[in-house]
């Protein structure tokens, strides 16, 4: 069994700043590699081959949840999965 590596980031953003993150991820997909690092965690993911892509959206009790998920087989470590999860939350009650 290989060691599990994780990267997680949660922050508050607005439409304009969220786009910067989406741009950075888009660029990573185009170039075929996304480097994710924070504190002591460092994780490089290489999207390639077939990618399972799910979009989920939900509206409930004044809250909107938009979930983007990319899953693919990790070519660097056989038999394991890589996963990039993107969550965007916004409050649809706001103007």
């Amino acid at each position: 069994m290989t060691e599990e590596k994780k990267f997680e980031m949660e922050s508050l953003q607005d439409r304009e700043t969220v786009c910067k993150y989406l741009e950075a991820l888009k660029e990573g997909f185009i170039q075929g590699g996304i480097n994710l690092s924070s504190n002591e965690e460092n994780l490089s993911v290489v999207p390639g081959g077939l990618i399972k892509f799910t979009i989920k959206a939900k509206k409930k009790n004044g809250e909107v949840k938009l979930n983007l998920r990319f899953r693919w087989a990790d070519m660097e470590t056989p038999e394991t999965d890589s996963k990039v999860d993107t969550n965007a939350l916004s409050d649809h009650e706001k103007e």
């Binding site: 922050s11 993150y21 660029e27 990573g28 480097n35 924070s38 002591e40 809250e63 409050d91 706001k94």
Partner: protein, 549 residues
């Protein structure tokens, strides 16, 4: 603490037994072996025994012939509270085991993520002995915080069960599972009591002897109008700035006159006295009168006029808040407008928000170590470390002096503003930080002090949001009328300072996180704008409105 080695030993064993109780309960949920069930029941008897022994020890020490000092008595009281709550946790474990027998299949419980409950509770129990005997407040806080985590876990499983109840054919099993996780949730409540008891054992409460003496001297110096023998303390509380305040009532036969006694470090109290005198020259009716002032080498105290009314904070939660708040907000805006317009001086000033953050950052990170972060990368995007963010904010602030100064309150919290409906008057209290400064400091402290109230009922929140909206618009209009182009940017810095430092008083992890994330969001906005004219910086007003997501 060798003095209490007998108690330490007993509490230590009790914690170990309760932890084993939890381990076995968890194993029984996974695999209900009858032997293990019996073990849990007989261990509960031993734990009850420990509780009785500790209780006896505590009472005999307090009522023995040792003539214990107050801090020692406080410590013993804390030990007793802790042992009572440990016993409660063991009882809940027994209740869980008993509930399991009502399940048609024990596997039913496996649908609910119960392991994290046990992990949280057990890790916190490990902190009890070192926390109590080393007077370690960090450990005490971490025990308190476990309760918030356990509550969160409970909510998740609770929602899941409620949803499943609609369609399930095994309603009895679902209800039983709900009972079980409810007992886990109550273990969290017992942990909170334990954490609070440790904090109490460190700080104690009530008046210290030198404060009592100071009070006597103050009462004497106002010509025996009120004598110490006839007065009663209605309330004593400690402010965050370390002063002690008490409301003193004269006996009803003598008219029941009330005054406020305030005692603390000489620097703070003497500065407050000077500031009250300055305010008296500007707006005599805005601040309390000083009846007497006394000073020793380190401490000072004074008797102040007791101002009738309620704090704005109390007005927010009052029954008739709609009307009260509307009127109080109107009066507050009128008062602020008068103060600002009358005291405005053509002198550039800086609130030094970044320096205020730097001063308090260790306290914040002690309570929330997870708020510290190093540089992060998401592909080509780089996010600077916390230290770097603060350094850049410092550079930004150097470009952002206020174009004029006004006389500011300096700690413009909602609970430092008194509203008197009858006399249609606003009063200021707690004035040791007043000075000629940037009005944006008062604006940001006021708005964040409203935001950080841990009240989540939608109606009250709406009222708070409305109040914030109205006060923000009022301040922005003043900025526009007085040609203050960097108002928004400085206000963002003030919010960052207040949001960030407010987290050190907030143990509700989720709420603290919402303030911390707002501080970081605004920091990123300011940093991204750096280099462009500050007059163009726009402040997203949503940041001072609480939203639940």
């Amino acid at each position: 603490m060798h003095y209490f080695s007998d108690l330490e030993e007993k509490i230590h064993f009790m914690v170990l037994e309760v932890n084993r109780q939890l381990e076995d309960t968890l194993k029984i949920i996974q695999d209900p072996v009858p032997d293990r069930v019996d073990r849990v029941k007989s261990r509960d008897d031993r734990i009850d025994n420990y509780k009785a022994i500790i209780e006896n020890l505590c009472f005999s020490r307090i009522h023995g012939h040792e003539n214990l000092r107050k801090d020692k008595v406080d410590f013993i009281r804390a030990v007793n509270i802790i042992s009572t709550n440990l016993e409660r946790i063991s009882d809940f474990a027994v209740n869980i085991v008993a509930q399991l027998s009502y399940l048609s299949r024990v596997e039913f419980m496996h649908d609910y993520n119960y392991t994290p409950f046990f992990r949280q509770i057990s890790t916190s129990l490990d902190q009890v002995v070192p926390g109590l005997f080393n007077k370690d407040l960090n450990r005490a806080l971490s025990i308190c915080r476990a309760e918030f985590m356990v509550d969160k876990l409970f909510k998740r499983s609770f929602d899941q069960i409620i949803q499943e109840l609609d369609s399930s054919t095994s309603k009895q099993d679902l209800i039983t599972c709900l009972f079980i996780i409810r007992y886990l949730e109550r273990m969290g409540d017992a942990l909170l009591n334990i954490g609070k008891a440790i904090i109490f054992s460190v700080f104690g409460e009530k008046l210290k002897i030198h404060q009592y003496q100071a009070l006597v001297e103050n009462l004497d110096s106002i010509n025996n109008d009120i004598s110490i023998h006839n007065v009663g303390f209605e309330s004593i509380w400690e402010t965050r700035s370390g002063c002690r305040i008490g409301k003193i009532m004269d006996s009803p036969e003598r008219g029941g006159k009330a005054v406020l006694f305030k005692e603390g470090k000489v620097q703070k109290i003497s500065r407050e006295k000077e500031n009250i005198e300055k305010w008296k020259k500007i707006f005599p009716s805005l601040v309390p009168g000083i009846f007497s002032y006394n000073q020793t080498q380190d401490n000072a105290s004074m008797l102040l006029e007791f101002l009738q009314g309620c704090s704005l904070q109390e007005a927010i939660v009052s029954q008739d808040r709609e009307e009260t708040l509307e009127n109080a907000t109107f009066l507050l805006k009128e008062t602020m407008s008068l103060i600002w317009n009358d005291t405005i001086r053509n002198k550039r000033v800086s609130a030094r928000f970044t320096a205020q953050i730097v001063q308090r950052i260790d306290d914040v990170l002690m309570i929330h170590p997870e708020f510290n972060f190093s540089e992060a990368r998401i592909g080509s995007l780089t996010k600077p470390s916390l230290n770097r963010v603060i350094a850049i904010l410092g550079d930004i602030e150097n470009e952002l002096e206020a174009p004029f100064s006004v006389f500011i309150h300096g700690d413009f919290n909602t609970n430092n503003i008194i509203y008197n409906q009858k006399d249609q008057q606003i009063y200021f209290i707690d004035l040791h930080r007043s000075c000629h400064g940037d009005y944006v400091q008062d604006v940001s402290v006021f708005l964040v002090s409203n935001y950080r109230k841990p009240i989540f009922e939608p109606e009250v929140r709406q009222a708070i949001n409305r109040l914030n909206q109205e006060f923000y618009s009022f301040a922005r209009q003043f900025a526009a009328e007085n040609s203050d182009p960097t108002f928004n940017a400085r206000l963002a810095l003030g919010f960052i300072r207040s949001f960030f430092t407010s987290t050190r008083f907030e143990l509700n992890q989720e709420f603290a996180l919402s303030m911390y994330q707002r501080a970081l969001y605004l920091s990123e906005k300011l940093i991204a704008h750096h280099g462009r004219p500050w007059k163009d910086f726009s402040l997203p007003r949503d940041v001072i409105m609480y939203s639940r997501f």
